[in-house]
Homo-oligomer: 449 residues x 2
């Protein structure tokens, strides 16, 4: 086990205490190639969650590294003001052309900033149209849209917000979201929707609100929860009826993860007012996010001859744009999106097999290449999963009691077998631990009826 010496480590890692707990694995990554993290002491670890959901082509895919090497011969980055380059313009055109009503793209470097831009754009159109009182946002319980203070204001997960409640905007949240197991769930196409109740909700909130913000169909940070498609469409339509903008946060699901460029466009069959892309955009090589903007929004700025003031230094970074264009080339020219849709079918089988094999699996969920197992284990045991995963050379990092995978997609057909084998081994070891220790035996203890 390779630990960072607590006394010596100067990095404060994300979502962590200042110093690493010496009882935790802390993998030293020396290289990463394909679907694997190469570690100093633990060999090659299968990157089952694509390094926080952002490496669809795995690590150092030749088309990505080549595009960066080629761009390095020209420039890394130049000022985006009164200047442009053909790479960024090409990228903007491609993102706009995923849709039919979009006409502009604004760039930033991370997902939070993309959502900030989207939320600011929506509100500023209200200000320009003499409706500054429409300053609230409507979000979903379970939502995660970033960790800047403004985006935490539309976060529907208490854990992320508690210590900042004194700073957060008081927004509206849609509770009781009907979640589903996947596209075969009866609720997917027909949820029990009380139109009058929801219409009433929007009637009471929309007058002071500017936008409904959604994660199309999957709430990642909430534990890979899949939202009923029927419910989401009905909520979107109600929001539209009440003249709200729709902001679609496709940072996790967009550009390949579910087998589509845009989940809003292709799976929900609608065009949001604003769509945010990030993680997959550069195949996770270089930080970049993109805010794709409907003509309905940009037109308000045109009408008022107004500049939008949000100036990211690296707005047209050449290296990031080169990587992004190469990734989109890959999506365009391979059959990868079809492979993802086929993988979904196979993942459902794999997850069901696992559920049938292990009593502590309560539920399975699959959409695209996201698969989750809802476990019935004591919290302290869930922490063992990471460690056992490393023993079996697979990087697994449960969210609460949700064990999930979100593997690189470039080689998904091949990787599915490996995922099945490794997950089975990990869960078998968990099962053995349960049998050794009654405290770990939820089926005989308090956790299972």
């Amino acid at each position: 086990m390779q630990l960072i010496d607590t006394q010596l480590s100067s990095t404060w890692f994300p979502a962590a205490k200042p110093d690493k707990d010496n009882n935790q694995f802390n993998l030293e990554v020396t290289a990463a190639q394909g679907s694997y993290l190469v570690t100093a002491k633990h060999g090659e670890i299968y990157d089952a969650i694509s390094s926080w959901w952002c490496k669809p082509l795995g690590h150092c895919h030749p088309i990505i590294t080549k595009s960066i090497r080629e761009q390095l011969k020209l420039f890394e980055h130049h000022i985006p003001a009164k200047s442009w380059n053909s790479n960024i313009e090409k990228l903007s055109k491609r993102l706009v052309q995923i849709f039919t009503q979009m006409d502009k793209v604004i760039y930033a470097s991370d997902g939070s900033s993309a959502v900030e831009i989207a939320m600011k754009l929506s509100y500023e159109t209200r200000v320009l149209e003499q409706q500054a009182y429409r300053s609230k946002y409507i979000a979903l319980n379970g939502a995660y849209h970033g960790e800047t203070i403004f985006t935490l204001g539309v976060c529907g997960i208490k854990y992320y917000k508690t210590n900042y409640s004194g700073l957060l905007q008081d927004n509206y949240f849609i509770e009781d979201i009907p979640y589903v197991d996947g596209q075969n769930d009866p609720l997917w196409l027909d949820c029990n929707f009380d139109y009058n109740y929801w219409n009433n909700f929007f009637t009471h909130t929309a007058q002071n609100a500017t936008a409904l913000i959604i994660e199309p169909l999957v709430q990642g940070a909430a534990g890979m929860k899949i939202i009923s498609r029927d419910f989401l469409i009905k909520i979107i339509n109600l929001a539209r009826n009440h003249n709200l903008h729709i902001i679609a946060d496709e940072i996790m699901v967009g550009l390949g993860r579910l087998g589509y460029y845009s989940v809003s466009k292709e799976l929900l069959n609608f065009e949001p007012d604003i769509v945010c892309f990030a993680k997959n955009l550069t195949a996770g090589a270089i930080p970049m996010s993109a805010v794709v903007i409907n003509h309905s929004i940009s037109q308000v700025f045109r009408k008022h001859q107004k500049a939008f003031l949000h100036s990211h230094t690296h707005s047209c970074n050449g290296l990031a744009a080169a990587a992004a264009n190469s990734y989109l080339d890959y999506l365009d020219n391979s059959n990868i999106l079809t492979q993802v849709k086929l993988a979904e079918i196979k993942l459902i089988e794999i997850m069901n097999d696992l559920k049938n094999s292990f009593a502590f699996i309560k539920q399975t969920r699959v959409i695209g290449t996201i698969a989750a197992l809802e476990l019935n284990l004591p919290i302290r045991m869930l922490e063992d999963i990471f460690n056992i995963g490393i023993e079996e050379q697979i990087y697994l990092r449960p969210i609460g009691n949700t064990l999930y995978i979100m593997p690189p997609i470039y080689n998904i057909k091949h990787d599915l077998e490996l995922i099945q084998t490794k997950l089975h081994l990990v869960l078998q070891k968990i099962s053995t631990l349960i049998n050794k220790n009654c405290n770990y035996l939820p089926s005989k203890c308090r956790h299972v009826p």
Copy 2:
């Protein structure tokens, strides 16, 4: 003149209207090397503001491109959770070791996010210490700390905030900042400081506030305004007396621009509670920002066994860390910081010569390799400066009536002569325009006494 076709452009550029004005230059950048932007139609343009202040080594410096090419052989980016790599750890150590009281670094991808992290860290320590009521921030008039909504709450420039006022936190601002021309200004070392007045200000604000946030010595977005060192130190000391944290935003000035690694540490002789670096950090090659944290802050999280929840996907991006380490190698192993200090002396001479040559220059300001000319010209004429600059193959982008330069520093000794020549040519053309047109003749019109 190379224009983007308004009908075809799909990119919404920073600080711009949705569509470029066809009367504006819009440079197509095809390459960038050294201190020059290579353009499709205008040849090589001297990048006099370092592509928004972030290219201290110019473009494609071999040590930066080599570090990225080498890193591409290992990995681009891996998940920063429960994992680390030697590059990021090396970088953290170097940033911490600029100071004596710092012990941790948190990474993000842009300056705004770094300031968000700093402001969140400060407030969360108050929450952990049962002082959640200390939720306000004290900032300076003229300040700019980013354009997320929370960081706009500490922006002291009305222009950036007006249309978002309905969303912004109501913070405290220090007005009437004593600005100086440079380090030789008498106010630099001894400002007229009414201790009782300022003590009273802090007495009335500090009880509800968590931090004073400052840009050490130069307010860039306000027009390269240089703050009296004496004033800033006295304000910092008062803030300390009132138990406020000090957040130093060194995104523009830190890591070389003024001839120091940290302006707070080396020119103000103090250690902030939190320091933000960004633009220069990777020599402007790849988006990355760093929040360097005093033990006084991290210790509160240790005491309460609390994780800090702010999880940037690219927190330990390998390509960015490689570029940053190479840039710091360059600062360590060259005499560049000395060159910057020598350049300051020469820039004062150059700016004074220009002031003596052109009546429409009201004032000059110089610190480190930042030099500004305060012009007395009608606003519409200020817009001509960019166009004339391009004719003379120098990229100049005035902020209001401030014409400034902030050139790459790697070759500053050589570039000074070129800067002097080009600025003189541009200002000569402005002078000619003035003489052609009485409306452009401020000395005979309303603008000059």
